[in-house]
Amino acid sequence: TTHTPEFLGLDGSNGLWSESDGADDVVVGVLDTGVWPESRSFGDEGMKPVPSHWKGECESGTRFNASHCNKKLIGARFFCSGYEAAYGRVNESKEFRSPRDQDGHGTHTASTAAGSFVADASLQGYARGTARGMAPFARVAVYKVCWQGGCFSSDILAGMDHAVADGVNVLSMSLGGGVVPYYRDGIAVGAFTAMRKGIFVSCSAGNAGPDPMSLANVAPWITTVGAGTLDRDFPASIVLGNRVRYGGVSLYSGSGLPRGKLLPLIYAADASNGNKSSNLCLANTLDERLVKGKIVLCDRGISARVDKGNVVKSAGGAGMILANMAANGEELVADSHLLPAAAVGRRVGDAIRRYVKASRKARATIEFEGTVLGVKPSPVVAAFSSRGPSSMTPQILKPDVIGPGVNILAAWTGVAGPSEMKADTRRVDFNIISGTSMSCPHVSGVAALLKGAQPGWSPAAIRSALMTTAYTVDNTGAPLRDVATGNDSTPFDHGAGHVDPQRALTPGLVYDMGVQDYVGFLCALSYTPQQIRLLVKSNLTCTKKARLRSPGNLNYPSFSVVFSSHHDHFNRSATVVKYTRTVTNVGQGASKYRVAVSAPPTVKITVKPTTLSFQSVNQKRSYTVTFIAKRAAPRLTAAASFGSITWTDGLHKVRSPVAIMW
């Protein structure tokens, strides 16, 4: 990517960068749509020999053989037996039956995590700069498990099975499904073993925001990554016939609209061929006679944004303005449309809709203004980023963190256009796309750097470092905002906050965990021994010692409290919740930490003890947090309050977000 290293503070040669020694012994496994090996992002110039622990292979198939691998791309496998069992044999004239990436998604995510340096990268001039992954010297191993018909759990499990055996150190998975019990969820089942073997697993949180409880990949042994914006934008101005100018975004790079000339503007709802959904510019809904030569205002929703542009283009439209609805708020996601087009937020969309309605001869033009940096405020939580609380285990706060996931430039396949549509015959080396799929590999790459710098840290320790050092204010100094509402975002939106790689290198304290902790968590969920065995893969019983008092008692770096009007099954009043945590000193030897609590007015939070003293590195100290509801459940059933618990020694700030629900 061309700007996220700077945005994440990874552009210097000190700190995490030098401490990790480039993380060149670290292998990032990416389960996705495969890889385009000819991309310069997978060049291996100057790279050291393949790590000796590596057991992976490069498998042959359609237009792919072992010679496509090198010292950067050290593994490439494909898994299609589950897919073929459902759909029949892969049609090799339409889809590569090999690790080669048809789609572009896998090439994009792999290069984001660990792509090599590529000078002068851009998408047709947009976002120009030197592209690189977050861990540019780490190795990449791709496991193609997603095909045109989806990603089948039998293939995903096979990919994970091989990734573990091959010796990956980090697993990056930008995919997900519905929420099911952990023992039935292939990703959670596979990730448990990976975690047990010391592999850090990061997964995308999903793009089902801003609806609450819309998260995927919520198992506590997985790091769940939401998406935020960068301080980069691709502005386009919409100039109306009344001379009012509005801001939008666009990645359009063609010949543009006639200079200095306003074209007729029509709202798609007024250009229907009889279909009621024409406002959304769905296929076969526009009347060509009404659209031809005009700029068409389309509402966002239902179909892909680029598809709407194609519908307008096919109907003879000269351009498109794509206006957000309430669900997307002011979020501006730029697309590489096939016709001159710009996206605008809801407020601007409403203003343009009003203008069109009020004007008999509505006119407009779009002016494309390239790339700008330094946008404020940023980061902002993306509207599409899935939100907590976790519907599976509300006592575990998810997502864990957010990372850059909006308008991300990274490498692309050689067989698909930047809009990903069949009709798009353009071919580009890099593409700009958005999603939690894009934020996940950022965190995977940062985790690879941390793994390089701190090889002894467990996956839980790495996640803890990422979470407790994450920041919650934007580049204006104000609390992080949610672009869907314009309001401050909450830990249900951003988790612990936005990742801060340099600070994650020196977290001071970590909330460490191992298999036994997770077993205690599963026991607290009242899973049967057989269900636990499906995850843990060994015989275990939930002894009194092993069982946590509640799932929220897991040694997690965040707190999620659920008050209820009932007594819990230990007959304790559920208006008092008590959690214990144990922190491990990973800073300098002797240190003394003091606690600072930020509590919502409705809840009393007490921490005991209030100071933690350490004499040596790796020493552990425990503390207890008591949450007491000051009043009965608020009338609103979805009511939630938020706070934080921060331990400081003057040098480090170890911050845990707190979410409280009734």
Partner: protein
Amino acid sequence: DGEAAQTYIVHMSKSFMPSSFESPDRWYSSLVESQSQSQSVLYNYAQVLHGFAVKLTLAQAKALEKTEGVLAVHPETVYELH
């Protein structure tokens, strides 16, 4: 439809493997053959779980679930890119 086949993930307990089998893979194959002559194991899993993936009818899956050594038989699910 009990006759429509789909892929199942079969979780096994290796401790139940009869000594006559040289490897879990052979054991899994024999279990599948006992349910269906026309189907074969799609994948054997050795790391992330002990077990295999196989395409079966619902009736065959239910019968397999009752076999000694089988911990669970879960229908395959489809995930999507984010």
